[in-house]
Point group: C2
DNA sequence: CCGTTTGCCTATAGATCGTAGGAAACTGCA
DNA sequence: TGCAGTTTCCTACGATCTATAGGCAAACGG
């Protein structure tokens, strides 16, 4: 019986691929075991449970996404940075829907605090420094920006824009534009 | 063996309650059967499958939510209508997190077209008529508004705002304010 | 080359979904 | 009242999944 070479990392990557192909909720120990042509029980030596597996995928996705966002905003400022920031999230969600869903997986507070989620928050704040908002307005803006990007991306992914013929990309550009204008002028 | 009086409607309502208490993903045929102190197999005379059950809950939630939104914007216009519209979604999500999640359940296109989801789209458009935007800007604004409200609500529900001491309500008010200002001024 | 460790196996228990067919409880009509 | 006919819930079942326990063989180290 040749060994399949299972490791937590390989299982996590395989799970992430499966998530992108079939949806994050389809990621189970059994399904990943099938990918390796191995019995499900064998995986329990490497991951504790299905929840553990999903958590690892979530952490991977948060990390990948943070890396992409960091790349996209490096060297940019203001409106250009905002557009690049938003595009990084949207592009990732479109290229890797399962991983994007994984990144929204509910983590327990300790795990979340040690995750790349922290970098996301930091980058969002860094981006908004270009619009010099004082506290608590900066926090308001962080929440609004996070909600807007996530909400738009999710509605688009869920097919919520399919009923109207208007190009989603145009709506996205308009939204980023509007947001930039709003942040520059609305300094209440 | 006294009859439990199962009907699709009662199962749907019980499922909705269960969703609010334990999360939408916990809603299964077995779990609802336990609520009625009945064997799981008995439910299959009333609902076709777990997916059918969840779809019914989603339709119920969309309906309830549309009713609330309709109530909240009736007789209001402009900024006031916008605030009431947004509050209706947020309040519903906070009072009924499981049903709100159900309202986001992916429906097949035919079911979605016959659902109260259509009313949501119509009401969003009606709301934005107060800001006289031409097409395609109105569609852009519909998508932005939908994404913003949903994204904010979801991030809040997921506990994403717990790290900062700023009151979420204040962020919400600020966001609605900013959105109103943006829609009034950004008439590109 | 042999002992130890590691990796994947089989076996098992419990839970879930969904189907099939049976029996008890209602219904309505004589 | 009595008795079909229908409805409602049941038991029984097979399939799939989670998770644990213990076995056997491959890889590795001396």
């Amino acid at each position: 019986m040749a060994r399949a070479g299972l490791t937590p990392e390989r299982l996590t990557r395989a799970g992430a691929e499966l998530a992108d192909e079939a949806g994050f909720e389809q990621v189970t120990v059994s399904a990943v075991a099938r990918r390796f042509d191995v019995k499900a029980a064998s995986l329990y030596a490497h991951v504790k449970s299905t929840e553990d597996l999903r958590t690892r995928i979530a952490l991977l996705a948060l990390e990948e996404l943070a890396d992409r966002v960091a790349d996209s905003i490096a060297g940019r400022a203001g409106r250009e940075a905002l557009a690049a920031f938003a595009a990084a999230y949207r592009d990732y969600a479109r290229a890797h829907p399962g991983r994007y869903a994984a990144a929204r997986y509910r983590l327990d507070p300790a795990t979340a605090a040690a995750s790349a989620g922290v970098r996301h928050a930091q980058m969002t704040r860094a981006l908004l420094r270009g619009y010099d908002l004082a506290e608590p307005e900066q926090t308001h803006a962080v929440r609004m920006l996070g909600g807007l990007v996530h909400g738009f991306v999710e509605l688009e992914a869920a097919g919520g824009f399919a009923h109207t013929a208007v190009d989603p990309q145009a709506s996205w550009d308009w939204t980023v534009d509007a947001l930039d204008a709003m942040l520059r002028t609305h300094l209440s």
